[in-house]
């Protein structure tokens, strides 16, 4: 009890004891200017970082219990409101599991980067829970999902073709995010994060427009970011397919009442499939074998193409961009002097060093281009092959990969036990 009270006091008063001492004496002004007190860097670090991980663990446990055992949409709704308030507005959207992909990647490819344990926890814990209970993280812990879920008032069905095409985007986003993080170029997920500006009340104009567009489209197209952009969703999708316990629409046997058929705003309910495939079985098998045989070729071709465009991809890197600019004096004269050029000029850094660094980065991008292209080639092959395989089923069941475990369908099932 005493320990709990001390912990609570620490948590409450920690932010209040942030007024630090000046490292150097302040200069004296004769104008009567009053200097504001300086705050030392946020003292959140230790205690509150541990608390964040603890809150994540508790919230995930609660929502998994609500989804799997209680089967309560209302419960999911309230937990998602809490997550939106805590992980969104209070924690200001950082650290988030989506962005942690980049930290983990950078830590793997750059031994000099010390990844905070909190970030590792935010990356791994949702994956572990997904392996056991499906995408309960998406259901109500991710503040991005919670925010979009709140505005999904009139969701429309997109159709499987459009879903298939738009569903390709997260793979590209994931591949690019890993490439840019591995080469130390940028954390593009964070840079183009649409909602963090809302959580922090400091959205740039572009971010404001992007978030606005996502939320407005989210009224009709439920969770557009989660379905058609989220790179972490790709990994969760893979993990969820192997989940031990996943939410079911009905708690016992499906009575084929069809009440849940239109309940999912995310098109994540697989209908019963008992009819015969009108496609010729032999023909389908032949196509499947061909695709499987072509898969290595698709990986190599993708890799080759990726390597061919590695220079274009590398232009995102500021060092490469600087090297390209300063290597062309005519271009340098034409362009207005950017901050990068001014910084370079005042740094005293020789041009040869910039070229040398850019060359090293380009080589990394060449390798990265091969891997990215290969990965995308594999994704295309697998997606096509997956659409040649048929799983016959008799019940309405949530698709383990794409279902967000939001429990909306549960309310539509007349069977309650």
């Amino acid at each position: 009890m005493l320990v709990s009270i001390i912990f609570l006091l620490l948590v409450v008063f920690q932010p209040m004891i942030t007024f630090g001492t000046q490292r150097f004496p302040k200069p004296e002004f004769e104008t009567g200017y009053t200097q504001p007190d300086t705050l030392v860097p946020s003292p959140r670090a230790e205690v509150l970082a541990v608390m964040d991980v603890a809150v994540l663990l508790i919230a995930l446990s609660v929502i998994s219990w609500i989804v799997i055992k209680k089967r309560s949409r209302k419960g999911v709704f309230w937990v998602s409101l809490f997550s939106l308030a805590y992980f969104g507005f209070y924690r200001e959207g950082c650290v988030c599991s989506i962005g942690s992909i980049q930290n983990v990647t950078l830590a793997i490819f750059n031994t000099g980067y010390a990844i905070p344990l909190t970030v590792v926890a935010f990356f791994i814990i949702p994956l572990v829970f997904t392996l056991f209970f499906g995408r309960t993280f998406c259901a109500g812990i991710c503040p991005f999902g919670a925010m979009q879920d709140l505005v999904a008032f009139a969701p429309q069905k997109l159709g499987s073709r459009l879903n298939a095409v738009l569903g390709l985007i997260p793979y590209f986003y994931l591949g690019l995010a890993i490439l840019y993080a591995a080469t130390g170029t940028d954390f593009i997920i964070c840079r183009y994060d649409p909602f963090v500006g809302i959580f922090r009340f400091n959205a740039s104009f572009g971010m404001f427009l992007f978030a606005g567009a996502l939320l407005v489209s989210g009224v009709f197209l439920a969770r557009p970011y989660c379905r058609f952009l989220c790179p972490y969703g790709v990994i969760l999708n893979w993990f969820s397919r192997f989940s031990r316990k996943h939410i079911t629409i009905t708690p016992s046997e499906c009575i084929q009442c069809r009440l849940c058929e239109d309940s999912c705003p995310y098109d994540a309910i697989d209908m019963p499939r008992i009819g015969k495939n009108p496609e010729n079985k032999k023909d389908t098998l032949r196509k499947f074998v061909i695709i499987c045989l072509l898969m290595p070729l698709m990986v190599i071709a993708g890799g080759f193409l990726g390597s061919r465009i590695h220079e274009t991809l590398a232009l995102v890197n500021s060092k490469v961009r600087l090297a390209v600019t300063i290597s062309d004096p005519a271009k340098m004269k034409e362009l207005p002097e950017s901050f990068e050029i001014r910084a370079f000029k005042s740094s005293g850094k020789p041009a040869a060093q910039v070229y040398s660094e850019a060359s090293v980065i380009l080589k990394k991008f060449n390798t990265g281009g091969w891997i990215l292209g290969g990965f995308l080639g594999l994704v295309f092959g697998m997606l096509i092959a997956g659409r040649l395989m048929t799983k016959y089923r008799t019940d309405y069941i949530p698709n383990k990969g794409t279902c967000f475990s939001c429990a909306r369908c549960v309310d539509y099932c007349p069977i309650k036990s």
Binding site: F153, S160, V165, F201, V324, L362
Partner: protein, 605 residues
């Protein structure tokens, strides 16, 4: 599930609230967008009017009316910008809460209007067809992407790597040649190298042969710089004396080895300079600025010339710190004329007989402690480091006329350092230190040769140089050893002992760092490891000088610490003049000139 009958009135009320909120939110959205576009247009940093006015002010820096107008306009532009930003932020917050209200209302309506699920009408099962088309769509997208990637690959040519490789080579070649030259060939201009290569024997011959031929093929000079003491910290301002038979013992009280002592009319923290049999220095107070010439043999003041009635000189004296004063910069001489600069920006050239050759005002420097950078002579030019708040520069004036030979703007903060002028093997370099970098310039035309970020804060100590390495230091910053050349490189750094006033001094093997709180540290010049640390205890503002293999450092009480320039500390003597001193001594054959608080002393047997 609770399917209670919804209250029609409540639903209507919620719907009305959400509609009003939606209208308000739309209006706010429009206002935010308009505000944003306005703030983009009214960016005070890119205001065309302000840019034009600033350019006009640069052309005519004395126009106070214009300056005032710019300030007022700038203030207005900033106020407008920040008001705009406040509006956008407040609008954003209002919008957020509006949207929150809409969402809550719609969620409540949604909850209240919930109906019992109904069985959807029968649909045509198009699963197989859809799946077939999905495959085709994915394959189609794949083909489109392949085409796009091929086009991109074709357009980008993949020659960037080759371009960068090519760019790398020519830039590296001269650099490596440069390094080879400085390593393979004896650096005949490097002062530190030669002094320490033979610190104890025939030093003068060695120095004559290898010393810094600062004036090079000077045409207007009447002697060689290294024979005399032409400026602050001697030839090239690196603190190396080439004279011999320097005394190590004297006593101000008893008069032992004190040849003469003369009162200096006006105060000043500038250090004496010597040319042949004359000693020059300056003095100033709020109202008067003078250059003095003393006879080296007798101490008699031969002449004193006032820097007065200079066109453009400010009517009001600048505000200076008592530890800087009005004449902190040391004078310099080329043997034909003496040049002096004061805290108000007045610069004056006087011939060897005290006749004014020319004078001008460089604009009162914006320097909150007072201008203190000493002048340096290079061939027929006087070099002025004019680091001030907002408009820092380094310039060369023709010694004969005072006209500006070249001027280079510097993106640095105000500093109190003096330039050093050294030969780095194949070229002369003028090297300056100020927050945030150490920079080298071609003294012939002011072109920047290199610079490197390694210093910060209110930089006071000047640089040290020896054997192709420049040493920079400042308090709250760091001590850095910088290998000069096309690609400057920091060899080592340290931040345990730092100086805020005295400059360091370097030889080929050692670096001696003096702190203002009286600690002297000897470093290995190549590695930065410390050989010894000596705490003298008293304040030291004077910069050390290396002469005949010995270091001379004057403390603020007037005690000169003389010790061997070696890796083991060995104190030789601690003579006193009996009066406080903040200036760096000047050396001549067989003697030293020391400026005390009030008197000028000539030390010699």
């Amino acid at each position: 599930m609770n399917y209670s009958q919804p209250s029609v009135k409540t639903i209507r009320l919620l719907r009305n609230i959400s509609i009003i909120s939606a209208i308000f939110a739309t209006l706010l959205c429009i206002l935010i967008i308009v505000n944003y576009l306005q703030s983009k247009r009214a960016d005070p940093l890119n205001s065309k009017t302000l840019i034009t006015l600033n350019e006009r002010l640069k052309a005519n820096p004395q126009d106070d009316q214009l300056r005032k107008e710019i300030r007022e306009l700038n203030l207005l532009a900033r106020k407008a910008f920040f008001t705009n930003q406040w509006q956008v932020k407040t609008g954003g917050l209002l919008l957020f809460f509006n949207i929150l209200v809409i969402i809550l209302c719609l969620q409540a309506i949604d909850y209240m209007k919930k109906k019992i699920p109904v069985i959807p009408p029968d649909r045509i099962d198009d699963f197989w067809e859809s799946r077939k088309f999905s495959r085709k769509w994915i394959a189609g997208i794949g083909i489109i992407l392949v085409m796009a990637a091929l086009t991109l690959a074709f357009l980008s040519h993949n020659d960037l790597e080759n371009i960068l490789e090519k760019e790398k080579l020519p830039a590296r070649k001269p650099e490596s040649q440069e390094v080879r030259r400085s390593e393979g060939q004896a650096d005949k201009y490097s002062p530190g190298r030669n002094i320490t290569s033979s610190p104890d024997n025939n030093q003068k011959d060695s120095l004559k042969e290898h010393g810094p031929d600062i004036q090079g093929e000077a045409t207007v000079f009447s002697g060689t710089m290294k024979d005399f003491w032409p400026g602050f910290r001697g030839p090239g301002s690196v603190g190396v004396a080439y004279q011999k038979d320097i005394p190590v013992l004297w006593d101000g009280k008893s008069g032992k080895n004190i040849r003469w002592k003369t009162e200096i009319p006006l105060p000043g923290y500038n250090s004496p300079v010597i040319w042949k049999d004359r000693v020059f220095l300056s003095g100033a107070n709020q109202n008067k600025r003078e250059v003095y010439c003393f006879d080296l043999n007798s101490g008699k003041i031969l002449w004193r010339t006032e820097a007065a009635k200079i066109p453009g000189s400010p009517a009001q004296p600048p505000k200076v710190n008592s530890e800087t004063g009005f004449s902190a910069p040391s004078v310099t001489t080329d043997g034909v004329q003496v040049y002096a600069i004061f805290a108000n920006g007045d610069i004056i050239a006087v011939d060897m007989d005290g006749r004014k050759a020319w004078d001008k005002n460089l604009g009162s420097p914006k320097n909150h402690y007072g201008h203190s950078s000493s002048l340096v002579i290079y061939r027929d030019k006087v070099i002025v480091q004019y680091d001030q708040t907002g408009n820092a520069s380094v310039m060369a004036l023709y010694g004969k006329t005072g006209e500006i030979a070249w001027k280079t703007l510097r993106n640095v903060r105000v500093s109190w350092t003096s330039p050093i002028l050294v030969s780095t093997g194949n070229r002369m370099e003028l090297i300056l230190a100020a927050d945030p970098y150490v920079a080298s310039y071609d003294p012939d035309n002011g072109n920047e040769l290199w610079k490197i970020d390694c210093i910060s804060g209110e930089v006071g100590p000047s640089l040290a140089y020896a054997d192709g390495v420049v040493y920079s230091v400042n308090e709250y910053s760091k001590l850095a050893a910088i290998k000069t050349g096309g690609t400057p490189e920091i060899l080592w750094e340290d931040n345990e002992y730092l100086s805020d006033v005295p400059s360091p001094i370097a030889t080929e093997k050692y670096l001696f760092l003096v702190t203002s709180y009286g600690v002297v540290v000897c470093y290995d010049a190549k590695t930065g490891s410390k050989y010894w640390i000596k705490e003298f205890g008293n304040t030291i503002y004077s910069s050390p000088v290396l002469a005949e293999g010995k270091i001379y450092i004057m403390n603020s009480k007037g005690t000169m610490y003389i010790f061997k320039a070696d890796k083991t500390f060995s104190l030789i003597e601690e003579p006193q003049i009996g009066e406080g001193s903040f200036c760096t001594p000047a050396f001549f054959e067989g003697g030293i000139i020391i400026r005390g608080d009030k008197n000028l002393y000539c030390i010699g047997k």
